[in-house]
Amino acid sequence: MSFPWAKHYQPKQPVMRWLDEKLPLPRLVYNAVGAGYPVPRNLNYFWNFGVLAGAALAIQIITGVVLAMHYAANAGVAFDSVESIMRDVNSGWFLRYAHANGASMFFIVVYTHIFRGLYYGSYKAPREMVWLLGVVIFLLMMATAFMGYVLPWGQMSFWGAQVITGFFSAIPVVGDTIRIWLLGGFAPDNAALNRFFSLHYLLPFVIAGVIILHIWALHIPGSNNPTGVDVKGEQDTVPFHPYYTAKDAVGLGVFLLVFAGLLFFFPNYLGHPDNYIPANPLSTPAHIVPEWYFWPFYAILRAFTADFILPAKLWGVLAMFGSILLLFFLPWLDSSPVRSNNFRPKARVAFWVLVVDVLLLGWCGGSPATPFFIILSQITAAYYFLHFLVILPWIARTERPAPLPHSITEAVLSKHGGTAPTKSALA
């Protein structure tokens, strides 16, 4: 598909030959994730996370479809139906815990995948479209996860829905009308629960569709690699199968071990106890927090406390959405032609500062809004925007990158240029 030396599909069995003539589906698979897709030979384990994200989505769809057989999307019985899944349905506890913790695993994997792309410059030309589609997938994931969290109809479900749909009421003039339209009422109730369930079932399949586009767009230039240097010839690549199917299988095994540890030993660690209280529109929990994967964005939302031309609430909402929409412009904000941060001494430092910044934002978003956390979230939110809008474009213009290897093969054979970020960061 991507390189002239890619192997061609040659079915040996008559049945496969017959199928390939009528419907070249085996050929498609062969060229996408088989021996027909040449991949740089120097990928490290951070390149596992795309496949792991696909596996996480598959786990969510399978457990989700099964859970939907037992769940009732009605505000009167939704909470009880979830409890019945936990207590009465055979293996129901396993399926629900797998689905709830599977969402967390999905986000852990996707965040690693995103930061991998940030470190190795995978968003740069010629892979901008891969990155843009990835941001779309991320947005769809956030919408799906939010609506899924509402379905158990506990206190955090209800008040999460109240707060998040409240974002829309910050829009001037038409905000309240839009919010009432989205909810189908004046507060989250049966109408909202039903439409959230419908969309929560639909969106994962939309995500699967965009993932196909994401992989399609990736396979035109081919995968990036830890050196960020383009593939120069056949000696720089190995076939995806068996080399990376095997490497991904190792990663998948580790992923499943961590997942099983979470699922069987700490199934409620990442959840919130208030969600085991049925939704009560007349009583607010003392401390409303979203799921951990939204904490950095929740911190940005809450960082705005003073009106400045626009109301503080609208600023918070704009900044929160802006923090994600900003990523759509990243391929053009970072104009450095060098992809991998292994060869960019300043950008590498800025990258790790950003990682710490996002972790601090997450800490703020998960904590009560005390003055300390408000000030910390204001500093870290400001830095987040500063990184993408000022620091990264400035570094791209002024930085002198380290010498690049002439080819992937040269980097591999000389063992210089690094195969893992930590190695070269120490060197």
């Binding site: 008040w159 109240q162 707060v163 409240g166 009432i180 339209w181 989205l182 189908g184 009422g185 004046f186 507060a187 109730d189 109408a191 439409r195 529109p281 007349l282 009583s283 607010t284 003392a286 401390h287 409303i288 809450r302 406390t305 009106d307 109301p311 503080a312 609430k313 809004a369």
Partner: protein
């Protein structure tokens, strides 16, 4: 038709028909007309698909709430439910009214007098939604023994917004006063919330 054919001399091709000289072309017109007609039809289908998201009749049927005020003594408040949202009904004491009137409007984030937030001659009846204007939490202060906050009105435990005795925002992140819904007094002791006075 027969005449035109006859005008072509034998052995010569007829004059080619230049469609672009007829502006707009007949097929352009048909094209635009057909697409417009289909577009109007598509819009007509989209409209119910959008409109189905609006509150249904049974939700709207519960959009008014009647409240009996006769049991609420001065200084007391009740929590009712209006459009599935909490509603605070408070019988202000003369002291609370005096406190609210003593605040200069220039000190307020969302300047409103107590008189503007109540009905004429009924300034002791403060009826507001119990929904914090920050992110929609239910403030404390309507129930017996709840924390009324530093200004003696309502206090939101989520992010620390404090409201005064006229339920106006005084401190914290909320941008606006607690919302006063539309309501009217049916008698001296009953109100209907959700209809214009």
């Amino acid at each position: 038709m027969a005449m035109t054919e006859n005008t072509v001399p034998p052995g010569e091709a007829p004059e080619p028909f230049h469609e672009e000289v007829h502006d707009p072309r007949r097929r352009d017109f048909i094209n635009v007309a057909a697409v417009s007609f289909a577009g109007v039809g598509a819009l007509a289908i989209v409209l119910p698909l959008i409109n189905q998201m609006n509150p249904s009749a049974d939700v709207l049927a519960q959009s008014t709430t009647e409240i009996d005020l006769s049991k609420i003594a001065p200084g007391q408040a009740i929590k009712a439910s209006f459009r599935k949202q909490p509603l605070f009904v408070r019988n202000l004491t003369p002291k609370e009214i005096a406190e609210a009137n003593a605040v200069p409007l220039s000190e307020l984030r969302d300047p409103q007098t107590l008189a503007e937030r109540t009905k004429p001659g009924k300034t002791n009846w403060l009826i507001t939604l119990g929904v914090c204007t920050h992110l929609g939490c239910v403030p404390l202060g309507a129930g017996e023994g709840e924390n009324k906050g530093p200004y003696g009105g309502y206090f939101c435990p989520c992010h620390g917004s404090a409201y005064d005795t006229a339920a106006r925002i005084r401190k914290g992140p909320a941008p606006l006063n607690l919302l006063v819904p539309e309501y009217k007094f049916d008698t001296d002791t009953t109100v209907t919330v959700g209809v214009a006075a």
